[in-house]
């Protein structure tokens, strides 16, 4: 359905005619996303999502405001989109305008002293990280990899990632925000609200993070975020890392003050115990478990023939046992590094594990630069898509470590059936990605898997798996799963178990968006009947 000509004309006037399009080939580019096929409640047919009626490219908060006001005037739905990395960047229904925020791509401020950056929506984590590193700082990278929008991750998602041990997740890295509300007001949340700079999200000035974000984020359902400030963290490495190796597996040379270890444990319980002790000892730069060994082998085997690939599969299965943490130590002080190494070694030994220095391992040392880039920087996380062009995750709530760990054996049992039936990639009995966050204040275990949406039975298997893993999560109180954020209809199941949060979101949505124009398709259905008490 084409937009009313008056609306289209006003959009052109607001952002310039070259920055508006309703051509179908342009609209298509915003309407195909991974995991879209798993929006089962919406009966999504595959990766296609509904086409917006027009795409606009605003260049400033003021232009965003104009677009939002036009939409309000004419009753047109709208949706903001930054890098568009995931179905949440899509509109959920026709008669919508999509705001592609790509032109708003600046790092406006990088405050070294107070360790924060002020950014626009199209600044990616890899850009911010590279700029911060030049100043002795770095930023958190969410698990989808460094090509994500930092602002979107902070304002509208949870944004957990493998460096969460020291850098938390973006839910908690968000500071101040500039917000164009669903009705088109520009609100500066936190310290910029009183003109005091961008250092704080809660004041002096209005504190509204709990409203527009809550535990996760509105996924585009509550206006448009046009600027935010985000916490930066100390970077103990050089201003620029030396790149070594060649395509497709570039790596980073390990700086002299970094060590990369694999800590291998006899079981999950001893791994969990070690994680507690490592955090208590206040050592470690990154502590995480990236994937199953089989998964890593398949990812790394892109240039091998089948025989070599099968050999790597078996080698890594042996070399990187399942109960494993990848631990990066880093310190500007050689003595401190030495101390951390000693403490780490003692902890791993005491918990029944074995510590392997990747640089000294006869097989792994040949891959150490690649593993450093992959483990410590998450540069290859997108390869979870490499096998089939799609990917599914499961479980993954932030819980206290003991509770979170229950996810792994339960999840393993659920997924095993599907892997054995050949519906997913055979990536080992389990393929959990996770570890301690904020020095083990809480923990994350997320079950990754690869399915092929182009093969009917694999797709059906993935849909079935979402249902089953959600049921297990509910039954065993493992928290709200990541796939449940794909759709408010999925999230609704968890609501009664989490203080009826959907009802609270509904109230917020109705209050701030009386016309229901900010696309609620991934947030909450404001018109739904309240759940039973």
């Amino acid at each position: 359905m084409a937009l009313d000509r008056r609306v289209y004309g006003e959009l052109e006037a607001a952002v310039g005619p070259e920055n508006v399009s309703e051509d179908p080939c342009v609209l298509a580019g915003y309407s195909r996303h991974w995991a879209a096929a798993l929006r089962t409640a919406e009966k999504s047919p595959g990766k296609w999502t509904p086409f917006p009626d027009a795409v606009v490219l605003p260049g400033s908060a003021e232009e965003v405001q104009k677009v939002v006001r036009i939409c309000n005037r004419y009753g047109v739905r709208f949706k903001a989109h930054s890098t568009g990395w995931g179905p949440w960047g899509a509109v959920s229904q026709r008669n919508s305008v999509l705001l592609d925020l790509r032109r708003m791509n600046r790092i406006l401020e990088l405050d070294e002293r107070n360790r924060y950056a002020v950014i626009e929506p199209y600044v990616s984590a890899m850009q911010l990280r590279a700029e911060a590193m030049k100043r002795g700082l770095t930023c958190h990278v969410a698990g989808c990899g460094p090509n994500h929008s930092v602002l979107a991750s902070c304002t509208s998602q949870e944004g957990m990632g493998a460096d969460g041990y020291t850098m938390s997740h973006n839910n908690r890295n968000l500071l101040a925000v500039e917000w164009v509300t669903p009705t088109g007001e520009i609100v500066r949340v936190g310290s910029p609200g009183s003109g005091a700079g961008w250092f704080c999200g809660d004041g002096p000035g209005p504190s509204l993070r709990g409203i527009f974000k809550g535990e996760w984020g509105a996924l585009g359902g509550l206006g448009v975020f046009t600027k935010c400030s985000v916490k930066l963290y100390p970077w103990p490495g050089p201003p620029e890392l030396k790149v070594v190796g060649e395509a497709p597996n570039y790596g980073y040379e390990l700086p002299g003050n970094f060590r990369l270890y694999l800590a291998v444990f006899p079981d999950w319980e001893s791994l969990n115990e070690a994680a507690y002790r490592i955090a208590d000892a206040k050592i470690g730069y990154m502590v995480w478990r990236t994937a199953s060994p089989q998964f890593l082998a398949l990812v790394m085997g892109s240039q091998l023939n089948e025989e070599e690939l099968s050999q790597l599969y078996e080698t890594l299965e042996e070399l990187l046992p399942a109960h494993r943490l990848e631990i990066t130590l880093a310190s500007p002080s050689a003595r401190e590094l030495e101390y951390e190494e000693k403490v780490l070694r003692a902890i791993v030994e005491e918990t029944g594990g074995e510590l392997r220095n990747v640089a000294e391992d006869p097989v792994l040392s040949g891959m150490k630069e690649y593993l450093f880039a992959a483990f410590s920087f998450q540069n290859y996380n997108a390869r979870v898509f490499s096998f089939t062009g799609d990917f599914l995750t499961s479980f993954g709530a932030e819980l206290c470590p003991d509770r979170a760990l229950k996810t792994v054996p339960l999840g393993k049992e659920v997924r095993r059936k599907y892997v054995e039936r050949g519906l997913f990639v055979r990536d080992g009995a389990e393929n959990f990605w996770g570890g301690p966050e904020e020095q083990n204040r809480f923990c994350h275990w997320e079950g990754l898997l690869s399915y092929d949406p182009a093969e009917r039975r694999s797709l059906e298997g993935a849909r079935e798996y979402v249902e089953e893993s959600d049921r297990v999560a509910l039954e065993h109180k493992l928290g709200m799963t990541i796939p449940s954020h794909l759709s408010p209809l999925l999230a609704e199941r968890f609501s009664p178990h989490h203080q009826h949060f959907q009802e609270w979101l509904r109230r917020i949505k109705r209050k701030f968006d009386p016309g229901n124009l900010s696309d609620h398709g991934y947030y909450v259905n404001p018109g739904a009947t309240p759940p039973p008490p």
């Binding site: 080939c25 568009g84 592609d100 990616s124 519906l423 092929d452």
Partner: protein, 437 residues
């Protein structure tokens, strides 16, 4: 529509695989060195709509294949405002490897658009001119060899080397061809040229999807090469090199050894046939032309099938050798510059297989000069950021684009052909770049 489009249909499963990560818009993550110069594609950098990215065009092609829409004027712009430089192809394959060939898809899309007559107006004339005059500039054939006047070049039989000048040096930047001849003479190389018989390598035709016209040019050129009887072809044009080295062998076969001038100069240096004796104090940066770099790598046509292994993992059988562009010509020019006394090389951020395209190629300069200038300005800015005094390269088409962008303003950077520095270091007379109109 799919039944009528077997070539595009062949890529359907690949198109369906795009999961819209947008990595196609960036240099490989591990190579990102800052906020600026992290993006890899001139078109998406200028036009912003996702359709202008590699992945965006793949999705647009899928929608077309599925009959969701037809070919609109904007779709023609989306498809042809692209230099087919292959930067998105590399970035995508860092993740998807053998399972995705974005560049092949974009090329197939162009072939379809050309067959359907859905091309920019300028491209129709470009094909006509190239077939009629043997060059895309509509210059008379008899002027093709004018650049060689006074240099004492003869079309000799069975020379050691066939020097193929290319259209741009022949008609727009004759100093490049003249410098090359001086260089070859200075090294005592026995070489011949085709002169007026030389004709366009067909690169512009190939890139815009004019398959039949391209094959005609291939045939003409191969006949010309046979007549001269040389065993080695040397060209300083990166576009011609890409054609002869990587594309001709896949189309018709190519018996000649094909060398880019930078590779040949390196050989001459190793053989002691040229020596650098003169100091050339200059801070330079090297622009890797796409056609010499990532596209200079031969892409072997893969015949096989996709199979499922390890449950749902898609593998190619036989396993496809993935073209990551790393076998392009990167070291010879750098080693040459390193050997010239006084020259210091300051590298840009986007180099080698992830070099930033100047945006002139693929028919862009002809149909969308504003995009070509935009790409050139972006690259010149990156060159300036290194602190270099000169941007050196060895692709006459890139050089032409850079010079035209500099003419439009934003100077402060000298553009040089590699031959200028080489001749200077040899103590021979050389000419700087100057556009002939």
């Amino acid at each position: 529509m799919s039944a009528e489009e077997p070539d595009l249909e062949r890529y359907r499963t690949q198109m369906e695989r795009c999961y819209r990560c947008s990595l196609c818009k960036w240099v490989p993550i591990t190579q990102v060195k800052g906020w600026r110069f992290a993006q890899n594609c001139p078109a998406i950098l200028k036009y912003h709509f996702h359709a202008y990215s590699g992945g965006g065009k793949v999705i647009a092609a899928l929608g077309l294949l599925e009959g969701k829409y037809g070919i609109t004027e904007e779709f023609v712009r989306v498809v042809y405002r692209c230099s087919l430089c292959g930067a998105c192809d590399l970035a995508c394959k860092i993740v998807l490897g053998e399972r995705m060939e974005p560049l092949e898809i974009l090329h197939e899309l162009r072939k379809k658009f050309f067959r359907d007559g859905k091309i920019p107006e300028r491209h129709g004339k470009l094909v006509e001119d190239t077939l009629k005059y043997g060059n895309p500039y509509a210059e008379p054939r008899e002027r093709r060899g004018e650049w060689a006047r006074g240099l004492g070049v003869e079309g000799r039989e069975k020379p050691e080397v066939l020097y193929f000048a290319g259209c741009t040096p022949s008609y727009r930047l004759p100093s490049v061809a003249r410098n090359t001849v001086r260089l070859l003479k200075g090294a005592g190389v026995s070489f011949g040229i085709l002169g007026e018989e030389e004709t366009c390598c067909g690169s512009p035709l190939y890139k815009i999807g004019a398959e039949e016209a391209f094959r005609e040019q291939v045939k003409k050129n191969l006949e010309g090469f046979d007549r001269l009887g040389a065993e080695t072809l040397v060209t300083q044009c990166a576009g011609c090199y890409h054609m002869f080295k990587a594309v001709y062998p896949e189309v018709e076969g190519m018996d000649l050894e094909v060398l880019h001038l930078s590779e040949y100069v390196e050989r001459l240096l190793e053989e002691g046939r040229i020596r650098f004796t003169k100091e050339m104090p200059l801070k330079v940066t090297w622009h890797d032309p796409c056609h010499l770099g990532r596209l200079g790598e031969r892409r072997h046509r893969w015949e096989g099938r996709e199979v499922k292994r390890y449950g749902q993992m898609i593998l190619t059988e036989p396993r496809k050798k993935v073209a990551y562009g790393k076998e392009g010509v990167y070291e010879p020019p750098r080693r040459i510059l390193g050997a010239i006394p006084g020259v210091s090389l300051l590298e840009m951020q986007r180099i080698r297989e992830f070099s930033f395209c100047c945006a002139a190629g693929g028919g862009v300069r002809a149909a969308y000069p504003e995009l070509a200038r935009f790409g050139a300005r972006e690259r010149l800015e990156e060159a300036r950021a290194t602190g270099a005094e000169a941007l050196v390269t060895c692709c006459p088409f890139c050089e032409l684009n850079f010079l035209e962008a500099l003419e439009e303003g934003g100077g402060g950077m000298r553009v040089m052909d590699l031959t200028e520095l080489v001749l200077g270091a040899m103590g021979e007379e050389s000419q700087g770049l100057e556009i002939r109109r």
